[in-house]
Amino acid sequence: MGATIGADATPALSFEARAMQIRETEIVADRSGALYVPAEQSLVVADLHLEKGSAFAVRGALLPPYDTRETLRRLAGVIDRYRPRTVVALGDSFHDRRAEARLSQCDLSALAGLQSDRDWIWITGNHDPEISPSVGGDVRTALDLAGLVLRHEPASGPVNGEIAGHLHPAARVLLNGMRLRRPCFVASSNRLVLPSFGAFTGGLNVLDEAFAPLFPAGTFGVHLLGSTGVYPVAGSRLCPD
């Protein structure tokens, strides 16, 4: 069994995961880009974009057909560490409507394996508005969890405790003369946007105007995914692309 992080444990000053709060709810931002909600023992991942590689292949760009396998492998790793009761895939889990049909038998089995012994919820997204039963789990458009609302696309207008994906946040930072660009969590006390979890997904800079309506007066904090940890980053270090 892998190491578990139960509902009460708060990580010490290690950067393997960072404990945070949205409204009254405690959450943990994991270095893999997943989010754990201890109160419900639920693990949330966003924007898996499974079968993105094959979507390109259909159009003649023969990208490696291993992205689904790799994404599921990473997901298995974080599931193993947290042993959640529920996994929530927060939208755009499939790159397009035909992605499910392109999944290999091998990947379907791997997915089924992750789904056994727990609840699995697919939140629909703009790339995958309809999800067929062949991939298991329950399908929802949104979810209430531990006092927070989970949806794929951040709502315009005021929210009261929201977890969303869709935007693929990334931050470009300046450190000791080096520049680094990585996916990140971006959050205020009121809402959080997860980084995209999919192996072939890129990121949109948090300084892009798409983020401005979500965080008025620029009040947001950024947690960057490094290779072995997740790190809070001072706003002054953020650079545009």
């Binding site: 094959s54 450190l175 997904t201 790190y231 545009p240």
Partner: protein, 877 residues
């Protein structure tokens, strides 16, 4: 009949060269008396001009009549180009041999540079018009308008001047067989520059195809003097059974020519310790320009060109017309400069290598080289520009930018005087290039794999290609070449009933044509002029759009800039306003000092040959008399305080400087090899407890700096220098490091783009969508983990080994120094190390350092905001 140009003149004076006898060596086929071999129209044209064809030109003509491919080696000014075209002009004078089988294209001329092709066309059109020959000469480059290009496929000229990329496009057309059916000759210019590169690989494959389409075609290669002509002769020839014998073409080699007149600039102002700008020499450079008719000022990089141009104009009180020429400038701008040069309107041009190759530019009588030329051949070729009459000395002035460069310049000068050359090293053909070629062939029509393999192996770089690798590359083209066979249904190539492979859909041909070419430079960002926005442009302000394109910037450099930063482009100082849609918007900056971008030296590392000479020079104090006093003093100081590296050993020093412990090594193997060495040594030092933080490298030395004290580690025996420098670092350590490094990612990206895995351009509009592409880095990571034997990973590794990382050179170095380390522990920095320490180069760090930096910054942030324990979200500052 002797050419009148053979008469020499000797004048007194230390630096004047002596005339040397021409030695024209020909093959057994003897050259007939010049005029008798020429048709009347040509002979009388020569007489009219007062010229006589030279022996090597007539010899090449004889070769052509005998239908033999030939390599002509001659220095600049020997009339190579005329030699190359003479057979075609002669053929045009004579009645045609038979019916045309195809479109009537008889002669194809290929040069590596667009500008060269344009220039040659200009020079050819005149004599053809004067001789009233019934033939047309046209160019075909990326700049040729689409309508003309379309017409050229249907009604080509008799002589077409073009580039390797255009050739690739032409052979990929369904009409290729018709287009080339009458081809008699292919002239390849500046062959020495083209061959050792991926472009050369692609060209060799294109030539193999031409030989198949026009079996009687002969190849004529024109080359500057090189150390090993055999390699070029082999490249030109069709290889049949390479394991038994390499086929060579015939060769005509011209020796001699006047010794070049090269001086190294000495100034009153002190030479800087570390600098690449040569700003100190501007007054002298201007004086030299004023004293000559037309000067070319060569620099190694685009950015140095900008800086020097800027500095010259700041001091240009006499308002001498000085222009700028480099690859990032707008095409129209470059043409203007070229035309002005040819028309005699300029006094100087500051240029990078785009002006390098064989263009005959008017009356250049002085070449100034800023910074070290990095290789003897490059120097010789560049100074060949000045005064292109063979028997009179070319004049060149070397301007070292810092003390170490004085040594390099000296070594280059001696090499040039000795006529020594760097070698053209024959390379194995890249697999990504082969993939691009195979896709192009498929676009032309269905092919039999085995027949194509036989054709491809007639090209020297691919002569050793075995069945297995060929099949892997075909598979790469067809389905991506993955171990997981899930893409059969999306295959780009399909089998026909008769066992041939054909393109699965015409749109793949469209994709191919948009992306062809191997010149995958560091991607460029267009720079557009706009109005200033005042405060640095933030997200949410009014949209930027339109604006004239001023030029392009290297993407890596552009990435270093923030809104508000100033930089120089096209001779203007610009201020970055914003990035939008992969374009950079900049306004005209106010008068203040622009950013000097930190570029450690040029792109080319010090050549092996020059490095050897420099090492020898350092070890011979009696030769220091020839060096400027400050440099000789510097070396003497080094001898006193530390030690001088001798050619057979490598010097290693340790000292404490700037709050860090340094371990300095002096391999003189060029910056690329040193960077690789730095990466590997850093890992090893880490394991030994040396706590390295980073390293600096330049062409002659490298320094690893850190918190741990290497001297103490060595003294206590915890660090064994011999073990540290063991060649085995090129095994596991290298593999592990390659796995993480961004250098590998970039190399892989190049290969993936060349092979057509990642497109540079899509048919249809490019949206500003993040889902339209997948970054090469992400693909690389996934491929490494799930398909580590993939052919593109292998191609990338090979590139890195020979190119960017210079692993071959590093390996030789490690073998050479085995057991010959001279270790000198010091209290303070040695004189020899000072330039390195002052170097404003990019500090390269290993993978772990980034993570550490992130951690440090995060901890600092938490401490500052008093949130060390809870880590709640913070306000953005």
């Amino acid at each position: 009949m002797a050419s009148r140009n053979l008469r020499s003149s000797s004048t007194a004076g230390k630096r004047t060269g002596q005339a040397a006898k021409h030695a024209a060596r020909t093959t057994p086929t003897a050259a007939a008396t010049p005029h008798a071999a020429l048709p009347a129209a040509l002979a009388s044209w020569f007489t009219q001009k007062g010229w006589t064809p030279r022996p090597h030109q007539m010899a090449l003509l004889a070769q052509a009549r005998a239908r033999r491919s030939t390599l002509l080696i001659a220095p600049t000014g020997a009339g190579k180009t005329l030699a190359g075209f003479l057979p075609s002009l002669v053929a045009a004078c004579e009645p045609p041999a038979g019916e045309l089988k195809g479109a009537g294209l008889k002669t194809l001329y290929i040069s590596p540079l667009k500008a060269l092709a344009v220039d040659i066309a200009r020079n050819l059109t005149q004599p053809i018009a004067e001789m009233l020959l019934p033939i047309r000469v046209e160019t075909r480059t990326g700049d040729t308008p689409p309508s003309r290009r379309a017409r050229q496929r249907v009604r080509p000229p008799e002589i077409l001047l073009t580039t390797p990329e255009q050739l690739a496009l032409l052979i990929s057309g369904e009409d290729a067989a018709y287009l080339f059916a009458d081809l008699e000759t292919v002239v390849l210019d500046e062959l020495h520059a083209l061959v050792p590169s991926k472009r050369g690989d692609l060209l060799s494959l294109g030539l193999a195809r031409l030989r198949a389409l026009a079996p009687g075609v002969i190849l004529t290669g024109l080359s500057a003097t090189v150390a090993r002509p055999t390699e070029l002769r082999a490249w030109l020839a069709a290889q049949t059974s390479p394991h038994q014998a390499i086929c060579l073409t015939d060769a005509i080699e011209l020796r001699g020519g006047a010794r070049p007149d090269i001086t190294i600039l000495e100034t009153d102002d002190p030479l800087p310790w570390a600098s690449h700008s040569a700003r100190y020499a501007v007054p002298e450079v201007l004086a030299a320009i004023a004293a000559h008719h037309l000067t070319i000022v060569f620099v190694n990089t685009r950015l140095q060109a900008e800086l020097m141009f800027h500095e010259l104009w700041k001091a240009n009180e006499a308002s001498l017309p000085i222009a700028l020429h480099h690859g990032s400038l707008d095409v129209a701008q470059r043409r203007k400069v070229e035309a002005a040069m040819a028309a005699g309107k300029l006094r100087a041009v500051v240029a990078t290598s785009t002006l390098d190759l064989g263009i005959d530019w008017g009356d250049v009588d002085l070449v100034i080289h800023i910074g070290a030329p990095k290789g003897a051949s490059r120097l010789i070729q560049r100074i060949g520009r000045a005064n292109h009459r063979l028997d009179e000395p070319s004049k060149a002035l070397l301007v070292p930018a810092n003390r170490f460069e004085v040594l390099e310049c000296r070594a280059a000068l001696e090499a040039a005087e000795a006529g020594a050359q760097d070698a053209v090293v024959n390379r194995r053909g890249s697999l990504d290039v082969l993939a691009q070629h195979i896709l192009g062939i498929a676009c032309a029509g269905p092919f039999l794999p085995e027949a194509l393999r036989a054709e491809v192996t007639t090209a020297l770089p691919y002569a050793d290609l075995d069945r297995h690798d060929f099949d892997r590359v075909v598979d790469l083209v067809a389905t991506g070449g993955y171990a997981l066979r899930s893409y059969e249904r999306y295959a780009r190539l399909r089998q026909t009933d008769d066992g041939r492979l054909r393109l699965a859909h015409p749109r793949f041909a469209q994709q191919y044509r948009l992306n062809v070419g191997t010149i995958v430079e560091s991607p460029m960002v267009k720079v557009r002029l706009t109005r200033t926005r005042g405060a640095s442009g933030r997200a949410g302000s009014k949209p930027f759009s339109g604006g004239r394109v001023v030029g392009e910037l290297d993407e890596m450099f552009a990435g270093e800039l923030k809104p508000g930063d100033a930089f120089v482009l096209g001779g203007e100082t610009l201020r970055l306003e914003a990035f939008r849609d992969s374009e950079l918007f900049a306004s005209r900056a106010t008068a203040r000092d622009p950013i000097v971008p930190s570029y450690p030296g040029g792109r080319f590392p010090l050549s092996t040959h020059l490095a050897q000479r420099v090492r020898e020079m350092l070890a011979a104090p009696e030769r220091w008399r020839e060096l400027p006093a400050p440099v000789a003093d510097w070396l003497r100081l080094q001898e006193q305080h530390s030690s001088l590296p001798s050619p057979g050993e490598v010097l290693i020093e340790t000292f404490f400087h700037g709050n860090r412990h340094h371990l300095v090594i002096y391999p003189f193997e060029g910056r690329l090899a040193h960077q690789t060495l730095g990466m590997l040594l850093t890992r090893r030092l880490e394991r030994a407890g040396g706590k390295p933080l980073g390293f600096l490298a330049n062409d002659y030395a490298m320094s690893i700096w850190g918190l741990g004290d290497p001297a103490a580690l060595i003294a206590s025996g915890r660090l064994d220098l011999d073990a540290l420098f063991d060649e085995d670092m090129l095994g596991d350590d290298l593999d592990a490091w390659l796995a993480e490094t961004s250098l590998m990612r970039r190399t892989f990206r190049h290969c993936a783009m060349i092979a057509g895995l990642i497109e540079r351009r899509h048919p249809g509009k490019e949206k500003n969508g993040r889902q339209l592409t997948v970054s090469a880095g992400l693909i690389y990571d996934v491929l490494r983990r799930h398909d580590p034997d993939h052919v593109l990973l292998e191609a990338a590794y090979r590139d890195a080994a020979t190119g960017l990382l210079d692993i071959g050179r590093l390996g030789e170095f490690l073998r050479r120094i085995r057991g010959r380390l001279r270790y000198v522990p010091l209290e303070r920095a040695s004189p020899l190390a000072v330039p390195l320490l002052l170097e404003m180069g990019r500090i390269a760090v290993g993978g772990d350092a980034r993570e550490d930096a992130l951690r440090e910054a995060a901890e600092q942030l938490l401490r500052e905001s008093g949130l060390a324990e809870t880590g709640s979200p913070q306000q953005r500052q």
